[in-house]
């Protein structure tokens, strides 16, 4: 019969303190932190590679089911298992969040562990060093102090105290040891500087990866979404009024706009935005980034029902050439001084049939071009419709008498214009040209909507043709609104503050830690092999205040007179 030997193990209960220190060592371990970082990197890669359930539907079972149904094409039978282990919602899983929190704790402990070392050095400095250090220290000054050690150490202590040192004294027989410390806490400056550099990197990366910028061109009275299509945080920006101020030479002085921000169907912010003073909402900055003044609101209605069939605010970003013409009678009285908006063609000239007031004559006045590009020369082309059909051509800037009238072709100007696709009418491509009467009333010329006829639309004077009512609702300005979010900005500011504080403390505070050994006839002052300049200045000061001489036979490293 086999016998069974048993070994009775003696177990010692783990004490709470041991568990704490074990956990502390684990969390302060570089290997542990690196392992966590590696795990998070892999998880992050999976989240990038695999489609993720949008946050806005994560809590909606029916929506998630419909979303997963669409993934079946790509993942087949793996769809459900992948979803169950959280690979379609990585950043929301317990394991990802746990690793993230653990890493945060680990880095915190790691940093604290290092910080505690520095803090101990600041608050519990080594107050005594071995005698051998007084002989071999890199920074060393030996002074001739003939009085008793008690008297000399008291004088030294007083002098150092005046220099803002905190002095502690230890007497051992005939020898007095002094420890003097000034601005000990300044050792934290380096720590702050290093943290700042890390934060700079982190801030830049966060801004790069988490930042958002979108440029919107929005006409007065209209709205534009901040994000394309729909987004859980979608906002719409409505421009109530866009203002551009310019100097006499046309240089911009200021752009500003009154805007409203909507989110979730509610107005959430309203105010003025300028280039330098953005409107802020939800971590986003709404800057005025630009301005465009040549817009026209055009609406077309079904005349029978009154329903709108077209409504747009057109940005007239192109320029259409037109002649600026002055016509005078024989007495020099100005009969016409206007820019003629071309609406049809005769040969290669684009022009318009006009009546010169006071002359009783109809003329076709147009513009033709010689050459192309910047070297192009413009000519005014005039046909007298009432007389003989006489035709004359007048180069830009010149004047000519014809039929008792003085014609001056002042210049060829560019009128704001744009092709309006989709405008109801006879043509797929309709040209719209914005101009003003000599009195300053804007009007819109529409070419192509109705075959063989140009529509001239004045504000609130609709024109009805072929069952459609065309309305020019007025001139509109556009605001260029730039929407920005920079989540790293605050991190960068903190980093800049830390860096500045760290550098100031490190370079401008004369931190110094001294040890002095006072014996009969001799005092030796030493410090660590750093801050040699500060040590030298303090040693010189001490020697002068004591009226002491330098002891001969100094060794290398002693401070010179």
């Amino acid at each position: 019969m086999a016998s069974v030997d048993t070994v009775q193990r003696t177990s010692r209960p783990v004490r709470g303190a041991e568990l704490f220190f074990w956990a502390w060592r684990l969390l302060a371990s570089a290997q542990f932190a690196i392992a966590l970082i590696g795990f998070l990197v892999v998880a992050g890669l999976l989240a990038v590679v695999l489609p993720q359930v949008p946050a806005s539907i994560r809590d909606n079972g029916a929506a998630v089911d419909a979303w997963l149904a669409l993934r079946q094409d790509s993942f087949g039978p793996l769809t459900d298992p992948l979803y169950r282990v959280g690979l379609f919602s990585v950043v929301a899983t317990w394991w990802f969040l746990s690793a993230l929190v653990l890493l945060a704790v680990s880095v915190g402990v790691y940093t604290l562990d290092r910080f505690l070392d520095i803090w101990r050095n600041v608050t519990q400095p080594r107050q005594q060093v071995p005698d051998s250090f007084f002989e071999r220290a890199a920074n060393r000054a030996a002074l001739d102090t003939p009085a008793s050690p008690a008297d000399e150490s008291a004088r030294i202590e007083a002098i150092l105290s005046k220099r803002r040192f905190r002095v502690r004294r230890v007497e051992q027989g005939a020898t007095t040891y002094l420890f003097a410390d000034r601005f000990a806490w300044a050792q934290l400056g380096n720590f702050a500087t290093h943290i700042a550099l890390v934060l700079f990197l982190a801030g830049a990366l966060v801004s790069q990866l988490g930042g958002f910028t979108s440029a919107l061109l929005i006409a007065e009275g209209t709205t534009s979404p901040v994000f394309p299509v729909s987004n859980p945080q979608q906002m719409q920006v409505e421009v109530l009024d866009a203002v551009g101020l310019f100097d006499e030479r046309g240089a911009p002085l200021d752009y500003r706009s009154q805007i409203i921000i909507y989110q979730g169907g509610e107005e959430v912010a309203r105010g003025t935005t300028t280039v330098n003073n953005p409107l802020l909402y939800g971590g986003y900055r709404f800057h005025q980034g630009g301005y465009f003044g040549d817009g026209a609101a055009l609406r077309v209605l079904d005349a029978a029902t009154g329903n709108t069939v077209y409504t747009e605010v057109l940005a007239l970003t192109e320029l259409s050439p037109a002649p600026a013409v002055v016509v005078r009678d024989a007495q020099g009285v100005v009969l016409l001084d206007d820019v003629i908006v071309p609406s049809d063609f005769i040969e290669d000239a684009r022009g318009e049939l006009i009546t010169v007031p006071g002359s009783g004559h109809e003329f076709w006045v147009g513009l033709s071009q010689d050459g192309a590009g910047v070297d192009a020369l413009w000519n005014l082309v005039v046909y007298d419709r009432d007389e003989t059909g006489a035709r004359f051509v007048l180069p830009e800037g010149e004047t000519r008498w014809e039929g008792g009238l003085q014609w001056t072709f002042a210049e060829a100007v560019g009128l704001p214009s744009v092709i309006a696709p989709g405008l109801p009418g006879d043509s797929e491509r309709t040209l719209t040209v914005l101009s003003e009467t000599p009195e300053g009333t804007p009007f819109l010329t529409v070419l192509g909507a109705v075959e063989g006829r140009a529509l001239t639309l004045f504000p609130d004077q609709p024109v009805e043709i072929d069952g459609l009512e065309y309305r020019f609702e007025g001139r509109r300005e556009f605001a260029g609104i730039e929407v920005r979010r920079d989540p790293g900005a605050n991190v960068i500011w903190v980093a800049a503050g830390l860096l500045l504080a760290g550098l100031m403390v490190t370079f401008y505070l004369p931190r110094l830690r001294l040890w002095a050994r006072v014996r009969a006839g001799e005092t030796v002052v030493v410090s660590l092999a750093e801050r040699r300049g500060v040590f030298q200045a303090e040693a010189d000061h001490l020697r002068k205040e004591l009226g002491a001489g330098r002891i001969d036979g100094k060794r290398e490293g002693d401070v010179n007179d």
């Binding site: 806005s56 929506a63 988490g210 169907g265 029902t305």
Partner: protein
């Protein structure tokens, strides 16, 4: 005092071994970066916008008795259309599955979308032509204010029902714009609630008629 080497002894007050080595020096920067990025990611992904709307609205479970297929609902031709319950801009509610028995055209739009504005007159005209045949057009507005939606409907003479997807949730289920991720997008659903065709972009009359004929015929058949 007979102590060990003084310089090193004094220096031990600030032990450097904890920072030593490239491997160890990576911990603080990489750790901080990982924490900040992970936190930022989580913050973005936590679905803040979902709180904008009442959680009752959005995609809802399609009652099994209203699923004419043996597969789960999905926005794919031949499958049951996912059900939704959304608010109208006039204070009412509309549930898609309540419209079963009638052919339905679902059109996603927004007033800021120029192609949507170009398309709306076609939809208004089509509704006028086929409403007596049972056609229902449901305009799903993306996240705009009630007043803007009502104003738009008045301008264009829209008489078909309009609902608002306030938090943009439906976009993720209905794959707006397909690969182009845009609006307008239209879905043609037959009387039994099955998706028969879809169209990305603004429809002209011919395209609209062709697809409407399909779901209207289904009903007639």
């Amino acid at each position: 005092m007979a102590d060990p080497a003084p310089e090193t002894e004094a220096a031990e007050a600030t032990p450097r071994r904890d920072w030593a080595g490239v491997f160890r020096s990576l911990v603080l920067p990489l750790g901080l970066l990982a924490i900040i990025l992970g936190g930022l990611w989580y913050w973005d992904a936590r679905g803040e916008g979902a709180n904008i709307n009442d959680a009752r609205y959005g995609t809802v479970e399609l009652p099994p008795e209203r699923n004419a297929t043996d597969r789960s609902p999905a926005v794919e031709i031949g499958r049951a259309a996912p059900d939704f319950l959304l608010e109208t801009p006039t204070g009412g509610e509309l549930r898609l599955s309540d419209l079963q028995g009638q052919p339905v055209l679902i059109n996603f739009w927004a007033s800021w979308c120029a192609p949507c504005r170009a398309e709306v007159p076609e939809l208004v005209a089509a509704y006028d032509r086929y409403r007596d045949d049972g056609l229902v057009i449901v305009g799903v507005n993306l996240q705009e204010a009630d007043e803007k939606v009502n104003e738009f409907a008045d301008e264009f003479g829209i008489e078909f029902p309009i609902v608002i997807d306030r938090d943009g949730e439906l976009r993720n289920v209905w794959r707006l714009g397909g690969p182009f991720d845009g609006i307008p997008t239209s879905y043609f659903i037959d009387a039994s609630g099955i998706v028969r065709s879809l169209f990305y972009g603004p429809m002209r009359e011919a395209a609209l008629e062709e697809r409407l004929a399909e779901i209207l015929e289904e009903r007639a058949g």
